[in-house]
């Protein structure tokens, strides 16, 4: 077992221990904490979570695949969330998605090969005054104009 893996396991164990054992209603919250820690849901973590709250693994997977917030694949270092709320849509968000596809070579739900960026689309982040808005990590990019997003992301 590599050091990184062991560290991951220790983190997972500590995180799971903070949740009450056998409480099936806590499943969604537990998976959220795991995703927050690891940036995605590793397969063995889903197994561990299912065992901890005493539900079948199939149920844990059904929950993990139902909610949009969960990712079963490792995600990039920076998560780019392109807001596709109505305001962003009518103020040009679709062009921003296209620009990202051209600039980074990946579309929504995909990760760049170097694991630097994962592109996601979200339905409204409540920052309509800044439309169209892109959130890169914790940075809000406001009033994104066509052809500028790649530069704003610092990818080029």
């Amino acid at each position: 077992m590599t050091a990184a893996r062991a560290e991951g396991n220790a983190k997972l164990a500590a995180l799971i221990a903070r949740h009450p054992a056998g409480d099936a209603t806590d499943l969604v919250q537990l998976l959220q904490d795991i995703q927050e820690e690891f940036n995605y849901l590793p397969e063995d973590a889903i197994h561990a979570a299912a065992a901890h709250v005493c539900v079948p693994v199939t149920k844990a997977f059904s929950v993990a695949t139902f909610y949009r917030a969960f990712s079963l694949k490792p995600r990039g270092k920076t998560i780019i969330k392109v807001c596709l709320g109505t305001t962003c849509h009518i103020r040009g968000a679709p062009v921003v998605v296209d620009d990202i596809r051209t600039g980074l070579g990946v579309g929504p739900g995909e990760t760049t090969k170097d694991m630097a960026f994962t592109v996601e689309v979200v339905n409204c982040v409540g920052a309509c005054a800044l439309a169209p808005v892109v959130i890169a990590g914790s940075r809000y990019l406001a009033n994104v104009k066509p052809g500028t997003i790649t530069r704003l992301l610092g990818a080029k």
């Binding site: 409480d23 099936a24 209603t25 806590d26 499943l27 969604v28 919250q29 959220q32 709250v53 539900v55 149920k59 059904s62 929950v63 139902f66 909610y67 949009r68 917030a69 969960f70 596709l84 709320g85 109505t86 305001t87 849509h89 009518i90 103020r91 040009g92 062009v95 296209d98 620009d99 051209t102 979200v122 339905n123 409204c124 982040v125 409540g126 920052a127 309509c128 005054a129 800044l130 439309a131 808005v133 809000y140 406001a142 104009k145 066509p146 052809g147």
Partner: protein, 627 residues
Amino acid sequence: MRFATVRDLETRSERMAAADAHVRRRVLVCSGTGCAAGGALDLYEKLVAQCRKVKLEVEVELAPCGEAKEPLYAAVTGCQGLCQMGPLVQILPDDILYTHVTPDKAKDVVAKTLVGGEVIEKLLYKDPESGKRISKRDEIPFYKGQRFIALEGCGRVQATSLDAYIARGGFSSLIKALGMKPEAVISEVEKSGLRGRGGGGFPTGRKWRSCVEAEGEERFVICNGDEGDPGAFMDCCIMEGDPFRVLEGMMIAAHAVGAKRGFIYVRHEYPRAVERLQKAIADCRETGLLGERILGSGLSFDVRLSRGGGAFVCGESTALMRSIEGNVGEPRAKYVRSVQKGLYDKPTVLNNVETFACVPAVIREGGEWLAKIGTKRSPGTKAFCLVGKVRNTGLIEVPMGTTLRSVIYGIGGGIIDGRPFKAVQTGGPSGGCLPESALDLPVDFDALIGAGSMMGSGGMIIMDDRTCMVDVAKYFLHFLLEESCGKCVPCREGIFQLHAMLEAMSTGRSQAGDLEKVRRLAEDIAASSLCGLGKSAPNPVLSTLRYFEAEYRAHIENHKCPAGVCRELTTFQIDKDKCTGCMVCVKACPPEAITGEKKKPHAIDEAKCTRCGACRTVCGYDAVQTR
């Protein structure tokens, strides 16, 4: 500090009210989503640090103080409304509202205003018509005509401070309610005529009564903070800006229906709301405002926060309850209503954030007070998010019955760049688009439904002539297509087909007769879907068809998109008479399809053009036209 009795809380409230009255000057920094994204929290830190640097004593928490001390108090508040001009800073009692206060302006604000007592002209709101600077918040047209009930404390008090909340009479409604019989609380809410602010408009009092009458030992109170409608962030603002008020509303409901446990279900896209509510819940537990025998009364109540998983359907009550139980959020048919069999099949009251935020005011002022505000069938006020192609984007609250026109043109200041108004979209993906002819409709539950839209949770998206209604309808269908949970066929397959038909229209692949097919399928989906999501899914299509049929026909019959949005049906060209040769579009064009020299008309190379519309957006002379 623990409030064992009502008297304990009252004593603390009096002390904090006195401390609040002693504040010499307060600086309130807005931390609504728009302002925060613009650096408001950084600005706050800088303001405080700068004050300390120049030896200006500043309090960051409202603290019981000695009589002589009159502190300067700087606090972060929830949304102050005018997001368009953020970050916002209010200085009281001077009554100054500063706009666009980026963090680099902290030094100036401290030196000139807080120390020098001088008003910084260029940070004041500038009236677009007269060019005059306006200092007082309530004289800005955006704030005129508004009335705050649900947003009463939002943007006015330190959002995260229990002391600040009780200093302004917070939890006095809880005290009053605890002194009343549950039955009396319910009848007060019934008298107020308060209807659910989540969009359904179901009478709140009647819901509470049905819950009490339902059989069962245990009951639950749930606050729905899964605000999923795109373009709506009122509930987010309330949860972030006045979290204790939401809890107080829930406690009053718990007393009324006899619930011991409550849940707040918050959308995971709202991390700040989660954080502040969690802090508020922890503070309430610590002080005994949540827990066993609250304030020495018979009420024992605790609240747990559940973070949503990013599924729109979970805003639907039965799906939300399944999600709290740790399951996938699939709705069920409502043969039995959730007030009778809700969470864990127990009687459950579920109201949305704004409804709970209205409850303390109803108890404090009495039901009849609210019933006199607004319209007869929709009493009270409603919070809206005014967004889209409107000049003043922001969070507003108006009495029911206010016309759409006065909201859009009075408060909103009209359309960006003076372009023509085309439609207003309300009700999110379940609502509809209303045209110019509907602008004099009063905002209330029934009038909007009558016109083919609905109130919804409060998103109000303004569209101009450069918005294509087929594209808007397609946008909502795409949204719902992704969010349909897949349980019932009409919704899962029907929306898929409907979307495909609109996609065909917007790419020039549709044929005569398609309009009828769209209409028929839309009606079938509405009639046969299992839950509200599917039943209302065709609304955006049906309402745009009702008012903008000609635009659909242009797509189908002429393969043209009059608004110039659908790329396959649009060709851009530059009007040589209007073009001034300013080079702005040349620089903005991503595929570099525009050529031209300075001061000479430019031209678009159609072969290179991707029809993204960037040139049209940036052109200040209306020279880019569609053909």
